[in-house]
Symmetry: C2
Subunit: 427 residues, 2 copies
């Protein structure tokens, strides 16, 4: 892995700084946020800021909207929920102005940040950046309310949970920033979950693709859409902590700040695997002795999809008699009950002996762009698990990821063995 | 006083309905508000709605802004505080849509309602009503966030406390409504304060000018600016209760709903006095044995004005020796300390024997457009008070009002005597 040079931070002249809800939780946190902004400005950076609502505020507003109970009317929910970022952006602007740092809160409609009309999960279609750029040229820091935009119909939209990450990356792209700094409550992306693997190491660099695979595996540091967007526009994103005292020291010598998510070319990776991810929230469903006939899989998985149930892994064994098969698939635990109802509802058209399910499973994944150029990574993973006596119940693979389903009790043993075997505990 | 005909309500085809914070306090209140709107729509009315923030919400937001402590930065405070109306407008819109009544929340920037840039106390300069009118033509009820607008610089402004009344009247004028209905927690304007005068009668009609005099006297039912605006555009405003069960009954026969504030011509008034108002919040300052020389009054009251202290009544007695005088004036109790400091600060340039003050005073006023055509109203008032042995400490008069300063202990006796003498207790 390449070493970050002490001058590295200097090459980022124009930056977007994004602060999440926990970073804006109360006035003391807001002061800390202001410290970060003040430091970057005094280092001569050109800065635009994106903020989330103060922690808990979005949930409070959702609760208020839910009292009315008209959850279908997402357009009005967006008006309610977006007020959280409106307030936090003005609070931060006031704080900066009090320190004689010119700043101004900017709402989605003031940019404007244009989205489609999918209220509650709108996609950004256009950002008119001239207003922001004029402010920055005048030395006024724009404090942009994340998560919100306006539709072509001039109505307020929101981007969905975690949408402020996407706002930050989109703003960074539109003003042609050199870096999008995402300040959060963790100090970077780790080789694995430090609660399970105490030796887990912070990654200095990770590729967009690895980050996407990690996010969907439960390492929820960045909203998936924001990573996709950053990848499309090749916008480097740095994950760093608002609260870690070390950061202020590290900034001086430019080393070891957060994790930079960037394109693969910049990562001169000599490791095949860069991270171990896991998920405990899946459940397994097995249909035993399913009558095997053409179209049966399409019927089952089509019905599940129609009910909005996402299926992750699917394993179908070849039947011994050519007429029957055992079909296993996994869904999110929260969807298990609904999935079983769907299968039971198909009892007229499909024949089977027994429907079984289990929540005592876990998914463990190895992720790394290095896999592309290294053969036999999956086989090596299976043998490491076999050595520890861990049975594999299902397997899925992608270009840069291998996931296996194992018994829940084995998760820590499996992750430690893999972490160590791929030398992720070595700095 | 003219009788309201049973068909009177029918003549108002296009109306603005404004609901204050107590009317929007919680979801049950919002349901009540929706009932009122539903009733008017089913009566064939064309309706636009203006709402305040849910009761307590504006204070909560001010508290949040005050934590930062940058109270000078009113532009960002406006962004914070205006979010209260944003939320309540969307809550009401959701509630109506749930009842299959098409409605849409509208923020100041969406109208747009243009104001000057005096953040925190902005004045409305223009309302583009075409968007609202198009919605109403389509059968969609606009639910307008009161209290807020945008400046020419495209920034959020607020109109000051109680500004939603002004929004409602301004919207009514801009869409050429027939009536602006202000729903509040009282059922109208009374001849006097019912807590002091149990016989106080609800007025059916009151003139704009009387309403202005009453408002400045402490009958704070409508924001003063909203009455001034209604008077300028001759827009009738009705004060009525959101909660009074009677209203729903009264609507059927069109009688006795609230109080209509309208122009003088419509009021065929046979009573000279239409209301008795009072204020307990004033304090009296007396400068004894003040050296009387030219320019002394200008110096004293100029200095008070420079410090932002409003002086209400001024009484100066002619001095016995031609060289000294006693000067008495009243200020708001909250300004008393500052006023005394101003006078004491002038001790180099003005000479006096003693500075005295008292909070044990009250102001009682009789108000009525009928005074214009009736001589001797003030003299009659003084004799009524004299009969009750109440000493008058100071007097001010306007065309439609006479105010006297009396001892605080006498306030109830004075008000009852006047209320009865002017036959306000007779329906």
């Amino acid at each position: 892995m390449i070493e970050l040079k002490s001058t590295m931070d200097q090459k980022y002249k124009k930056i977007v700084m994004k602060f999440g809800g926990t970073s804006m939780a109360d006035i003391d946190c807001v002061y800390k946020v202001a410290d970060h902004i003040e430091r970057e400005l005094s280092n001569g950076k050109l800065v635009a800021v994106v903020v989330s609502a103060m922690a808990g505020e979005t949930d409070r507003l959702i609760g208020l909207a839910d009292q009315v109970g008209n959850i279908e009317l997402q357009s009005e929910r967006d008006v309610i929920i977006s007020s959280g970022e409106q307030v936090s952006s003005a609070i931060l602007s006031m704080t900066l102005n009090k320190r004689n740092i010119p700043a101004r809160s900017i709402q989605g409609w003031q940019i404007p940040l244009i989205t489609n009309s999918m209220h509650g999960s709108a996609r950004i279609s256009d950002i008119k950046s001239s207003h922001l750029e004029k402010l920055m040229e005048k030395g006024i820091v724009p404090i942009i309310a994340g998560f919100q935009g306006i539709s072509e119909e001039n109505r307020v939209t929101t981007l969905g949970r975690g949408g402020s990450d996407t706002t930050a990356v989109a703003i960074a792209c539109s003003i042609d920033a050199d870096l999008c700094d995402i300040y959060t409550d963790v100090d970077g992306v780790y080789t694995s979950d430090p609660r399970i693997i105490p030796d887990a190491q912070k990654l200095k660099l990770v590729s967009f693709e690895e980050m996407l695979e990690m996010a969907s595996q439960g390492a929820k540091v960045l909203q998936t859409r924001s990573v996709e967007l950053a990848m499309s526009y090749n916008m480097p994103v740095r994950v760093r902590s608002t609260f870690s005292e070390n950061d202020f020291e590290n900034v001086k010598n430019g080393t070891n700040i957060g994790t930079i998510v960037t394109n693969e070319e910049k990562i001169l990776e000599d490791k095949v695997v860069s991270g171990i991810a896991y998920s405990k929230s899946e459940a397994k469903v097995t249909i035993q002795k399913l009558e095997d006939k053409p179209g049966i899989a399409a019927e089952i998985f089509g019905s599940l999809a129609n009910d909005g149930i996402n299926v992750d892994m699917i394993v179908q064994n070849i039947s011994a008699d050519g007429k029957h098969t055992d079909l296993t698939f996994t869904v999110q635990e929260t969807d298990l009950r609904a999935a079983k109802l769907v299968i039971e509802g198909l009892s007229d058209s499909i024949k089977y002996a027994k429907l079984e399910d289990s929540k005592d499973i876990a998914k463990v994944s190895i992720i790394g762009v290095g896999m592309r150029s290294h053969a036999g990574v999956a086989a090596q993973m299976f043998s490491i698990l076999a050595e520890k006596g861990i049975n594999i119940q299902a397997i899925t693979t992608s270009e840069i990821k291998v996931s296996v389903l194992i018994e829940l009790d084995h998760i820590e043993k499996a992750m430690r063995a893999l972490h160590s075997a791929y030398e992720l505990d070595q700095n």
